[in-house]
Symmetry: C3
Subunit: 312 residues, 3 copies
């Protein structure tokens, strides 16, 4: 693949190939591009995990990182994302990693025929494919396969970038998926995913995948206090005690400790929350490698200067 | 040269030497300093293009970049530019690239005898020599020479860092230069540059160099709407159709699309706007190389600690 | 040592060892870790000197720096320092340098058993051990030893991160220390350090160590104007003329020129203010080397994933 925008763009074979590469990187395998490769990370929303994880992945692959800070860029002078990306392309940047508030921000860029590769690191409430890949990697490390597993995705599904695409991808890979948590958040029309009350889901799932309550995306305030949310829909010690023996707990983080999950469970034996972060580096290395190999294989050395929209 | 502050400081020979080096870099030539060389980019105004272009140039020359962010620096505690620069010098930084709101900010630094080199990346409404160099490089690539060319510089000349120094430099190199656009913006007293109405300039120029309207520097609002500006002074499709066959369009960017220039023309065949950005990297590599060679040649290894203003 | 949190944690032998390494680095000695070593600089307060000095030290040791900017991190989404540090640890960061507004911020981190090393670059009004080390290095370079020296620490002692720990450490190393400046700022109960009026201290000290007035930490405004402060408690030309012949002037910077010290004295012959900054790089290289060697020697390769607080 050249770009990585959504999980839907990837075939099952491509997904399994990326997971396989990621597992090699997790074992200490290394890989380097054939020439100096320049990349820039464009984060228009706050991020610690995804940004630093991409930075680490890029360094481990020996890429050259050209810094970009949205709040000191010409975006402040009103420059569009398209012009910003074309600028970076012009100075020789090969790939950009983008996180942006706008759903599907990349459609315009792809349509205009940018030459550099785009790695989507989150678009609005849309997609976040490298998060999905690292989640899959974490499940695969644990269970070896996806078919036969029951995965419960729990919480703020409406505002999540990963819930729907994780659900679809897991089903393509053979897993059973249910949504749980507050019913009006989890009952997504047309998703084809069944809703299950939290107290059923907690006892039957092999993977209990919590989501972060995206306070910053809720237009109205939460109807419940933190304590009420935890008691009704969160993972309490009591609920954890009813889980299947091998059930693992996942969360994309940052965790609202004491809301989605009881503080003491964040680092419990079942928790793979920090393991997910560790895996994020390997999943991103795999995605970057795949995109760079595509470029190298295709001998893509066109400069964008040959492009022309209209002839005067 | 040790510092690069304004184009006026450079002789014609030096300018042609820098352009020649830049052309070599554009062809893929490489160059590295003899030892680890530390540089820091101090941008006190927003920038995408110039900052990332310098970053790319520095990486292509193998320089070590020490990050500096004005908004997280001790400038917030009231530290002066002089003390900031002396601090970086003390920790071992060899060169600083500076963009600052203040015209001629570098005068005080030079006068106090800083040991590191200063590359001016824009001072207030003053100078922006590497932008001038990349403009010259773009023209030279196109026409091979400057004498005999007619260059129209069009638009917000009063607030431009590049209009006057580009005009003077182009004349020193043998080109004819006119200013165009709104007459009260373009009629610069004492510049010795003739004013020409837009509809004459568009038909006679070999190089049509648009400037960005610096909304952020206009104390009063614009007297015209965007549509009115485009119709009266901007580059419309109609005006473009009257250009000389080989006339090229330039703009330092970021472009106000639909104001200085019709959106559809930004990437048309005549446009060198993104080519200019590409050339920016090579022009800056040439400028940095020249400054580093000066230091290497002069064996400048004085530590600044030997400096002393008064003896107690 | 694994972490460097306060000077009190270091034995005299360890301090002398660090100074000795720093002196080797000042002479051009180099040192590299055995494998790729990842570090991140977490500055939650503005800084030029300390941040860029650590960056330079890290580069000179060949470390890989993973950028972190507090104002674009998930700290904005309410993530705690503990979760931020654990995140960086999970993605493979070996050490973090932290400056934070909170006194003793590191206690919680150490208690929770983080695996990465913490280099304290300033906690609230608490400690700043690498500043102390560079001060010691500057004094040692000058006088060869500490015993027999009289050091006057002058000014905003109450709000200083370095005054008390510098005082204690200098006494452990055999120096005599007095506090001076405004009596209500310098008369620290339980410190065991004598107070001396400025006009006595200036005539008897071998090292005259000024502190920055931390305007940003004074809850009420200053009771004196700048001119009044300089006249009553600052280092004027007149006071400087009464100093012992070999007395040196120190200041951690940024200097409030014309307040703590007359502008013209900042770079006078006695001043070691910029020399201190130069030494900062070497002191930090020594501290980083020591911490990395500790990790290498102990074969610390545990991944944090094995950690578990409760078993479900």
């Amino acid at each position: 693949m050249k770009h990585l925008l959504t999980m839907n763009d990837l075939s099952i074979e491509e997904i399994m190939g990326l997971l396989s590469d990621a597992e090699q990187f997790a074992k200490g395998e290394t890989w380097r591009p054939k020439r100096n490769y320049y990349i820039s990370n464009l984060f228009f929303e706050p991020s610690t995990r995804t940004k630093s994880s991409f930075e680490m992945a890029e360094r481990k692959l020996g890429l050259e990182i050209i810094p970009f800070e949205a709040h000191t860029s010409s975006v402040l002078k009103g420059e569009t994302l398209y012009d910003t990306v074309r600028t970076l392309e012009s100075i020789g940047v090969d790939s950009v990693v983008i996180r942006h508030t706008e759903d599907n921000y990349f459609a315009k860029l792809i349509q205009s025929g940018v030459y550099l590769s785009i790695m989507n690191a989150g678009d609005g409430c849309g997609h976040h494919p490298t998060q999905c890949l690292l989640d899959l990697l974490t499940i695969k490390q644990e269970f070896g396969q996806f078919s036969g597993l029951k995965v419960a995705i729990v919480g703020d599904i409406r505002h999540s970038r990963v819930a729907r695409s994780n659900a679809e991808t897991l089903r393509r890979l053979g897993a059973e998926v249910v949504f749980s948590g507050p019913e009006n958040w989890a009952n997504i029309k047309g998703s084809g995913i069944a809703y299950e009350p939290i107290d059923t889901a907690v006892e039957t799932a092999d993977v209990f995948m919590l989501l972060r309550i995206q306070h910053e995306r809720h237009s109205a305030g939460m109807p419940l206090t933190k304590e009420e949310y935890l008691a009704q829909f969160g993972l309490t010690l009591e609920r954890e005690s009813r889980m299947k023996q091998k059930c693992i707990i996942m969360h994309p983080a940052p965790v609202n400790r004491g809301v989605e999950i009881e503080d003491a469970l964040v680092e419990c034996e079942r928790s793979r929350i920090f393991k997910q972060m560790e895996n994020g580096v390997f999943a991103r290395m795999a995605a970057l490698k795949n995109s760079i190999e595509h470029k190298e294989g295709a001998g893509l050395n066109e400069t964008m200067y040959t492009k022309c929209k209209i002839v005067g």
